[in-house]
Symmetry: C2
Subunit: 642 residues, 2 copies
């Protein structure tokens, strides 16, 4: 008998060789029908794989990211089976799961797979899936594997084999298809109920353009048709809401070859959004007791040697500027500069928590192939702050930071979010993780209890913490269901040691502070990119670059228009008159396209009543409203960020 520990801490006895699926069935048949894979001692396994020793076990269903990846990778094998049945001479390279689904790279020889051909493959996959073929795992010696693929004449798998160690090699078979594969896989093909192959394109073998071009097919799959339909709808909507398209149409940002790739020039409309976000951050942080600082964008090499960014992070940094025997680097993070400000004046316990904030601009040299609109850039304006506190103050500070995230989510209508809590791995203390076992456990438990007490949805991941402490990655979903990694929230024991930071505690002894790194609004670049998609460019009034467009129905009424404009400006509302010699219908249409929240239309009748006919973006005619009443309403709406 072996002992299986379940996530709730309960321990059950099973026969040696039992599988996760057996365990699931012993709990409930309904549960078993949902199980796609299992986490055994933190490693993802096939649900059907035999367990021969005591283990902790977590059953993985569609809601688990690891199960989704297993499901998608299994669909790649299903696709390979379908392709092989149509093109028997095909040879396969690799077929991983990716964020957007899965792909498989293949050598079709003289055959060509067209967009139309994809439909045929898709149909075949649906047919094969229904056969309910089991994914069978087989451990094999390297010699046997080499013999198998040599006989098959598969130079691609032989190439993969050459980098694998004997004893770690497995084959997976479903139906007529066998693949060299580390696994794991879902129990059988019948789980795959909905499939969409998205694209076929060329991809150089091993990504090297000197190599042969293979054929890459991208696809996605779901356990039911409804989710696939929703996904396709989401993609279509995301295309319309593409931040690069909206960014150009709405005059938000531009890029220029003479400035450089990934370096955003924020145009006037984008700068209004930036300033409104910074105003929000400053108000929020001011109320939460933060002080603001301003630091340079460069520093000498020595700073980054102390912080540990050099040499480990050098690949992501711009190269140094070397002058008078000194190397200067553009900063990739604000923390070392902030530590220097903490250290500029002696601190006592009375000065703590010491919270300093800066919308600091950092530079990171992302590979040019990875640059993408505002989402992946080289110049980042970060909603950064560092909180220096004692161990006793930590829980309260960390809770306050989390509350700030929740406050922002509410303002921006972000309803779905998850915090991914990355922990240390005790086996790697002093190696991958700073060797403070008690501090790790203590802060991890503090972080965990703040998350639980506040009913914040979170997942735990072992062995993914930062070097210096537990880390929370915040994932949010836009209103159309696309996932964004927004920001991180980190606990740090190590940097205060490297920078020799300390404060005098109540016993008049020097003590090392804990540091919280936090950036709830992430970077302007990524957050504004997210907002453009989230709101489809129809920003809420407080964020809109232009809040009100004034549309006189004829030139005769320009004087009243000017008076309205002045009143709005005095009230701090961003407004403009459309003084073009155009029909009112066209003016309204153009303003709709420009996504301005409010239009004020007026002629003789409205002027006589000191009123305006109000049209609201996306909601149409709101009727005639007294001008002062309108101003009162809109300033209230702006002030409360509704």
């Amino acid at each position: 008998m072996i002992k299986i520990t379940l996530p709730d801490g309960s321990v059950r006895d099973y026969n040696k060789g039992t599988s996760a699926m057996d365990v699931a069935k012993s709990i409930s048949e309904g549960l078993a029908r949902k199980v796609l894979a299992a986490s055994i001692n933190g490693e993802v396994w096939d649900a059907s794989r035999a367990i021969n020793e005591d283990a902790s076990l977590k059953l993985l269903t569609w809601d688990d990211a690891d199960a989704k990846a297993t499901f998608r990778h299994s669909t790649a094998h299903l696709m390979a089976e379908a392709v092989q049945s149509i093109y028997p001479n095909v040879k396969f390279w690799v077929g991983p799961a990716v964020d957007s689904g899965f792909y498989y790279d293949m050598d079709l020889g003289n055959d060509v797979l067209t967009e139309e051909g994809l439909h045929v493959v898709e149909k075949k996959m649906v047919e094969l899936a229904k056969k309910n073929s089991t994914f069978q795992r087989k451990e094999i010696s390297k010699a046997d594997a080499v013999q198998y693929f040599t006989e098959k004449g598969d130079e691609y798998k032989l190439d993969l084999l050459s980098n694998l160690e004997d004893g770690s090699i497995t084959l997976y078979t479903q139906g007529d298809f066998t693949d060299l594969c580390r696994g794991p896989h879902i129990p059988n093909t019948s789980f795959i109920k909905a499939i969409k192959l998205n694209s076929v394109s060329g991809a150089f073998w091993k990504g090297d353009e000197k190599n042969k071009q293979l054929t890459r097919v991208y696809g996605i799959s779901f356990p039911n048709q409804k989710e696939l339909d929703e996904h396709i709808l989401m993609l279509e909507e995301a295309k319309k809401r593409d931040h690069r398209k909206l960014g150009k149409e709405l005059g938000i940002y531009t890029m220029d070859d003479d400035i450089g790739q990934g370096l955003v020039l924020w145009m006037p409309n984008g700068t209004v959004i930036i300033e409104e976000l910074e105003k929000l951050a400053k108000e929020t942080e001011n109320a939460a007791g933060y002080k603001r600082v301003v630091t340079p964008h460069i520093a000498k090499e020595n700073l980054y040697l102390t912080s540990g960014h050099l040499p480990y992070y050098a690949d992501s940094m711009y190269p140094p500027m070397e002058l008078d025997g000194t190397k200067y680097y553009l900063k990739a993070m604000n923390c070392p500069h902030h530590h220097k400000i903490f250290d500029a004046e002696p601190k006592s316990y009375k000065d703590l928590p010491y919270r300093i904030a800066e919308y600091g601009t950092c530079y990171r040299y992302e590979q040019s192939g990875e640059l993408f609109g505002l989402m992946r850039v080289r110049c980042l304006h970060m909603n950064d702050a560092h909180i220096y506190c004692s161990k006793e103050q930590f829980a309260q500070e960390f809770k306050a930071v989390n509350d700030m995230y929740l406050k922002y989510f509410k303002i921006f209508g972000i309803e779905k979010y998850v915090m991914r809590l990355s922990l240390h791995d005790p086996a790697k203390l002093g190696e991958k993780y700073v060797n403070e076992p008690e501090l790790w456990l203590e802060t991890e438990e503090l972080v965990r209890s703040v998350l639980i007490e506040n009913n914040i949805p979170y997942v735990e991941v072992k062995g993914e913490g930062a070097f210096y402490g537990p880390k929370i990655d915040v994932q949010i979903w836009s209103v159309i269901g696309r996932e964004f990694t927004l920001a991180t929230n980190q606990v740090d024991f190590a940097q205060s040691r490297s920078f020799k930071l300390s404060f005098t505690n109540k016993d008049n002894e020097p003590e090392i502070p804990l540091i919280i790194h936090r950036a709830p609004l992430g970077t302007h670049e990524r957050f504004i990119g997210f907002l453009l998609e989230h709101y489809a460019g129809k920003l809420p009034t407080w964020l809109a670059p232009l809040q009100v467009k004034i549309l006189p129905i004829s030139d005769k009424f320009m004087e009243y228009g000017e008076a309205v404009l002045q009143k709005l400006k005095t009230a701090g509302v961003r407004a403009e008159i459309d003084d073009r010699n155009e029909k009112i219908g066209k003016k309204i249409r153009d303003t709709e396209i420009a996504k301005v929240p409010y239009m004020l239309v007026f002629g003789e009748k409205e002027i006589a009543d000191n009123a305006v006919a109000v049209r609201k973006q996306g909601k149409g005619d709101q009727g005639v409203v007294n001008l002062d009443e309108f101003i009162k309403n809109i300033t209230h709406e702006i002030l409360n960020r509704e």
Copy 2:
């Protein structure tokens, strides 16, 4: 006879060989007594030098910068005469006028001049000045000059002579002292009524530390004792107001060796000042129709080749970061980035004037010896903006910019200022100046008339314009009379050509815009340095990092203190409680030293009346005031930046 043209345009006939002094006497004996030198055809001459051809002439008195420099340089000769009378073996190197007065470098052989010795020299100078010795100019051939100094055994003057051309060499003699000197000088020594020798120090010959060390004596002089007394007072006051001392005491800024020289870390208190200044700039610019932009701090080499910064300005720039075959530079100016934003979308005459503003951070590699506190730094936050307009719009735009300067001067109590209008030199068109003779004359005249119409004090300087247009340097004086160069205001014809900027004019033709570069508040670094001196650290309430300190006379009254704090915070006032267990007298003294504008003191009596006893920085007790009344008053004061 020759014709002498005076500044008012009048022309008078004089005998050939007449001098500026003769002309002065012919106008008024009183005027002649004030004449120190003369400007002949734009060149500074001795007032006594013979004029042999038609010329334009301006008499220079103490109020002219060139006369001041001549006066100070003549004092250097007087000092040399005095030193020579005491140390007969002395040899002299050079003795120029400088911003702070004058100096002379000398080789005293085995003699040593101590601080005490300076007093002896000073006394001797006063004695010699009273002798009313004339400064006599003598043209001499190079051969004769070499013979003279060879006989004298003066290797220093022989070294100078080796670099001079025959025909341009003059000697000046006053009393027993003769010097190789280009001149000019004041008429005689009796003008020098007040002298102060400031310091004696070592200075390597030709500034090269491998050379012999000479003795350098610094001094200053005035035409009357009163001005010297005022000057000494100003220096003492300036020492107390030193922005580096105040900057540290008040927690405004710090620097750090690991970050780099000249790179300012703005601490929380300094950042409050920065944010208030930016708020002021944004309000002012917003009301004036500017839009805001945000641009990266780096760009590719090509941008600076187009703008002309490379290679001409390369010495003042940080060296490039070279990566993937591309050179990136830190920006030393914001203009090229702004031009790219102008150019990102097509412009028509309806879009002009297009005004874009940014508190842009620039990096300039000043030599380490020239770095000085906040006054000379390597990272500059600049109150920058660029206005793109048509020729017809120029005058109005330029006037609006000047009005903005005046508005700021009023806010900061800057009563003395001068605009230095630098013009082109027609002889150097197409060489030092862009070859647009009409545009030069036209814009110079436009600029001049705006200055005259607005009664703005200004001086004109020929041949000091920027390459691309006339330039105004704005000089301001702090309340203790120290001069600061604050900012420039430039007209630009050239860059819109280099960047191929254009707009579609009313005739539907492409037209090149004029550009105004302007930065009324200069850089945060220099302006905050100025403000610290100007206000002696006692910043006006709206700028003060901490505006109100709440001082309960005993711990018993902390609850009321907290209520006062909350009310102030809600009203947007920056306030803190002094909760230390200290006597009220000490609390008041400490708050005075911290230069907080207001202190609110209270005990049982004030609390009963819902009041506070108000103390104002530098003004003492203001009596007991109802709390709401106080809040009303202070918010009014802050809002109006009183």
